[in-house]
Amino acid sequence: MLKKISQGIFIFCLSLMTIGLFLPMTSLAKEEDPVYQKIETKKKLVVGLTADYPPYEFHAKVKGKDTVVGSDILLAEKIAKELGVELEIRELSFDALLGSMKTGKIDMIISAMTPTPEREKEAAFSDPYLIIDQKVVVLKKDQDKYLTTEDFSGQKVAAQKQSIQEDLAKKELTGSTVVSLPKVTDMIMQLQTQKIAGAVMEAPVAEAYVYQNKALAVSDVKFKDDKPGGSCIAMPKEATALLPKVNNIVKEVNDQDLMTKYNKQVSGYMFEDESFFKKYGSFYAKGIGYTIFLAFIGVLFGAVLGVLLALMKLSKLKVLKAIAVIYIEYVRGTPLLVQIFLVYFGTATLGLNVNALAAGCIAMSLNSGAYVAEIVRAGIKAVDKGQYEAARSLGMNHGKAMQHIILPQAIKNILPALGNEFVTVIKESSVVSVIGVSELMFQAGVVQGASFKPFLPIVVVSLIYFALTFTLSRLLGLAERRMSTSD
């Protein structure tokens, strides 16, 4: 599944669900179905989905207007028609879908959702309306080499980490080494550069990539167990009357193989000749916002922490000095990636509900603090010693001398270096993408997935990073020059 659960939002959903439990509900008697009653009275079916998973649900321009389209939408339309009501589509993040249904904001979920034991605790699922075949994508020139599952013996094949495809490859592609990669785009990139011989993925995804790239082909390899899981419609548990009705429609859809028809119907939207930027510009724009936010928060709180640490390190009190030295050395001596995981999972271990964005901000601040501390310390050290002596000789205590005499002068030395730290933090914030904060690097990954292009989105994001940091360092240079002429 491309839709990864961001833990923070998941926790948020859980709390929503808990609230949902306490909301007044109409009688739960078996014969009555409040959900179905509501649909009947309002003459409207509200379907929730996450429109980022072509060909099932995605955004496309229909007659110049941005619309959510996809085979799931056609299925939803079919269900609404059979029930004799109007259809309303409501877009939500994937993690928020179940919570929204619990709180009655939507009546059902049609979003290529596969039932898992956790999800089945929260909702009732229809029979599967779509069983997905698993395919192996290979290079077109090798298509004839790989005909059966045994042909990959001695070769490397890729599958998405912790996916059913990974299990399938390990079980059935005998003799091959399975490389687990985080994203389908990574698998395609490795395949194109011939680092792997094949990539296992869902048939519709495979077909989309092959359609996009003429050098690739779907191999004829067939798995024995090629029907693990399937997409189902989720409804509230109390929808006891609605569920059988939906199951009847699903049966009809399956009998007539309507999903195949729907997929063909929407495939035209998927590969529209629209410019890359027009299509994905908003993803990058959102990423820029988050990246700048992360960097800003990181440097701001990093500066506060840094000043504190610097003063501790310059302190005569051995204990304070030791704490500061250990902290600074430790943070500067460990990778940011590790620190992010420490904060993200560490806070969870402590029982704190910290979402990914907050964890990212905290990790960036803690990290930046150590570097800023050294900047501040150097800035303070660069102030002439005579200034401190003059202040003390006038009867000021250490604190007053620092506050009124040393720090105001140190700031002039610190600000330019702090600006450079801001530039560094912008670049380093890309690491926060690992915990699912939708900053630039994360968005680049999303675009990789949505556009079926593994390389271009990375080039674009590198240009954006460069534009950001270059502009910023120019602005800083300008400010620095202005400041130095002012004295």
Partner: protein
Amino acid sequence: MINIQNIHKSFGQNEVLKGIDLTIEKGEVVVIIGPSGSGKSTFLRCLNLLEEPNEGVIEFEGKNLLDPKTDINLLRQKMGMVFQNFNLFPHKTVLENLTISPIQVKKETSAAAEKTALELLDRVGLKEKAQTYPNSLSGGQKQRVAIARALAMNPDVMLFDEPTSALDPEMVGEVLDVMKSLAESGMTMAIVTHEMGFAKEVADRVIFMDQGVIQEQGTPEEIFTQPKNPRTQNFLSKVLS
């Protein structure tokens, strides 16, 4: 007023002060001379604990400075210090240089502090520079502001650490004039300097230091005309010729 007994000070292995005893009376002007490296600046900086002596007693107005219970910040308010390199606060105006400590430390109102500051600036002939920043002043002007800044705390004693050594020759006079008038007003002063003419004219007592000890002390006439110690004779023959 200041009573110093057996001051020792080492920087690492290097013993700079090897037992100094000295008493400075109220209203007295003491000038300390000696070759560079003799420890005279270190000694002066010990008087307000910018350097902490390794052993000895420094009594100021009846209180031992080296007693950890003594509030050194309180005593420093009564000891003005003027540095070789001025050490004016470059991010503050001349007026603010004078008022910051009275306002922050003595909790004077800014109106009262400014009034005193302007009087002091007038006294050193720099009232019109009140609103400028120190970097726009000449060396002589900077040092006059530094003296006024020290006086703004209304000290009982003024310490001068080679106040004219960093100045161009033509600016030495204006600073010495200010110091001279300060001496005439009855201020207690301890001055480390190389200006022998000034020492001769203004000092009540001249102290010759070398190799970390006081070699000889006396009135200016005694030291400059009939030095007894051969080291003093040797030093004076070099600087006066």
